[in-house]
């Protein structure tokens, strides 16, 4: 009896999130989970409840910010805080191709993303928060062990030029969040705590890719996560990258 009721409410909830405005934030109920990296082996991490932007920040959103804080104009942002590629897809300080308006803003540094969030009384999500929110599928809080879920993420990672697509066009996840794994990679506040090199003393991911044996669901799940963590460990805060954007949390 319980299951049909649950399905009914889930469907109702889903209908509501899809029918209502996509802007704004969703509340993510806190919990405990084992991240792929950043805690000891099989160690649980506790994430407190938080709110997260439903959509990645778009070029239009970022334009409004730049107008208010001209320090972050393409031509004005200090080089210490953003490398030369900052907003390189914008044609001028206050213009970009119209088709990009609702696409996620990319080529923004960590410093710029942080400033954007802080100037709206928000912040960047932590890596643990981001991963916690992104392990939710359409139906459940944690669908990482579902091979379809992992395959969908990997397929999205393989699709080229997704940073040109408008946000919010696909199905939101369990929390009502869109595009976490579909269009662009996203900055986290503590991306600099990910070290997958020789200097990392508790190298969790060391034995991940020995041999190309048959992949099971766990390998697929780890592979997608591994790509994200490896990416985080490879970047610096000034970097601006074509497929790296962000969203804020609170």
């Amino acid at each position: 009896m319980q299951t049909p009721v649950f399905i009914f409410f889930s469907a109702l909830l889903l209908g509501m999130t899809q029918g209502t405005v996509k802007n704004g934030m969703s509340r993510v109920e806190g919990g405990r989970y084992v991240p792929m990296y950043g805690a000891g082996k099989n160690e649980m991490v506790t994430v407190a409840s938080f709110e997260m932007d439903r959509l990645p920040v778009t070029n239009a959103d970022f334009m409004a910010f730049v107008k208010q804080f001209p320090r972050w104009k393409k031509s004005a942002a200090p080089r210490l805080f953003a490398d030369a590629g900052y907003l390189k897809n914008w044609t001028e300080d206050l213009s970009f191709p119209p088709s990009l308006s609702e696409a996620p803003v990319t080529n923004v540094s960590w410093f710029a993303a942080k400033a954007y969030c802080e100037c709206q009384d928000k912040r960047l999500p932590t890596t643990h928060e981001w991963e916690f929110a992104a392990m939710a599928g359409y139906q459940h809080r944690d669908e990482r062990r579902d091979s379809l879920f992992s395959a969908r993420i990997l397929a999205a990672y393989e699709t080229p030029k997704t940073y040109l697509k408008p946000v919010g066009q696909s199905r939101p996840n369990y929390w009502g969040l869109y595009n976490l794994n579909e269009l662009v990679w996203e900055w986290t506040s503590d991306f600099g705590s990910v070290m997958m090199s020789g200097e990392n003393r508790n190298a969790d991911a060391r034995d991940l890719f020995c041999g190309a044996g048959s992949l099971n669901a766990t390998d697929l799940m780890n592979y997608a996560a591994f790509m994200r963590y490896a990416f985080r460990s490879s970047i610096q805060a000034r970097f601006t990258i074509n497929n790296l954007g962000f969203r804020c949390a609170r």
């Binding site: 001209p70 320090r71 210490l80 410093f111 802080e118 600099g192 003393r201 610096q236 805060a237």
Partner: protein
């Protein structure tokens, strides 16, 4: 501790609203009225506490050459070597026309109180005026680390994993050199400090 966070919170807010002032195109200026270099760390508005419990910002160090490293005092592995590297640099560089300040920034501000930093300085014979130990909030520490391209993570209640990078900033606060690794050949770094402090 509470007051430190309060002060820093205010600075943060000021940093956010303060940017509107540059709307008119007036770039930030140094005390001497010069335009701040785009690569200068004076652009960081964060507030820091020294080993003597004094509050300061990076801009307060204008006119000095800075040699900075990030450590934590309870560190048993890499930090003693990083500290030794800093002392070697200081010894080799010696007296210079422009003052050189050797700065050790804590990545564990919770544990590394000013008292603890002071004690650490004493134990390592780094009590001269050229040595500066700093701590701030977690947020400001992460921001500074990101400027230095230093990565770090707490890996147990007492231990951190971290990059070993020593950075040199010229007297306008612009980063001019980085030395990466432990006990590496420091000739180029000494040269960079000497050039900057001429």
């Amino acid at each position: 501790m509470k007051s430190l966070f309060f002060v820093i919170g205010c600075v943060l807010i000021a940093a956010c609203s303060g940017t509107t002032e540059t709307a008119n195109g007036s770039a930030e200026k140094t005390a001497a009225g010069e335009e701040i270099d785009g690569m200068s760390i004076y652009q960081l508005t964060s507030s820091w506490q020294t080993q003597d419990g004094n509050e300061m910002t990076w801009k307060d160090l204008e006119g000095e050459v800075l040699v900075a490293v990030m450590i934590y005092t309870s560190c048993k592995a890499a930090c003693p070597r990083l500290v030794a590297d800093m002392k070697n640099l200081e010894e080799k560089v010696g007296k210079t026309p422009v003052p050189v300040r050797y700065i050790l920034v804590s990545i564990d501000p919770e544990t590394d109180t000013p008292e603890r930093l002071k004690e650490f300085a004493g134990l390592n014979h780094m009590d001269g005026g050229q040595w500066l130990f700093l701590r701030s909030t977690e947020d400001n520490t992460r921001e500074f680390a990101n400027v230095m391209a230093v990565k770090y993570a707490r890996i147990s209640p007492l231990d951190f994993s971290h990059s070993n990078i020593i950075s040199v900033f010229d007297r306008k606060g612009a980063m001019v050199h980085q030395m990466e690794g432990l006990a590496v050949n420091n000739e180029q770094t000494v040269e960079a400090i000497l050039t900057a402090s001429r």
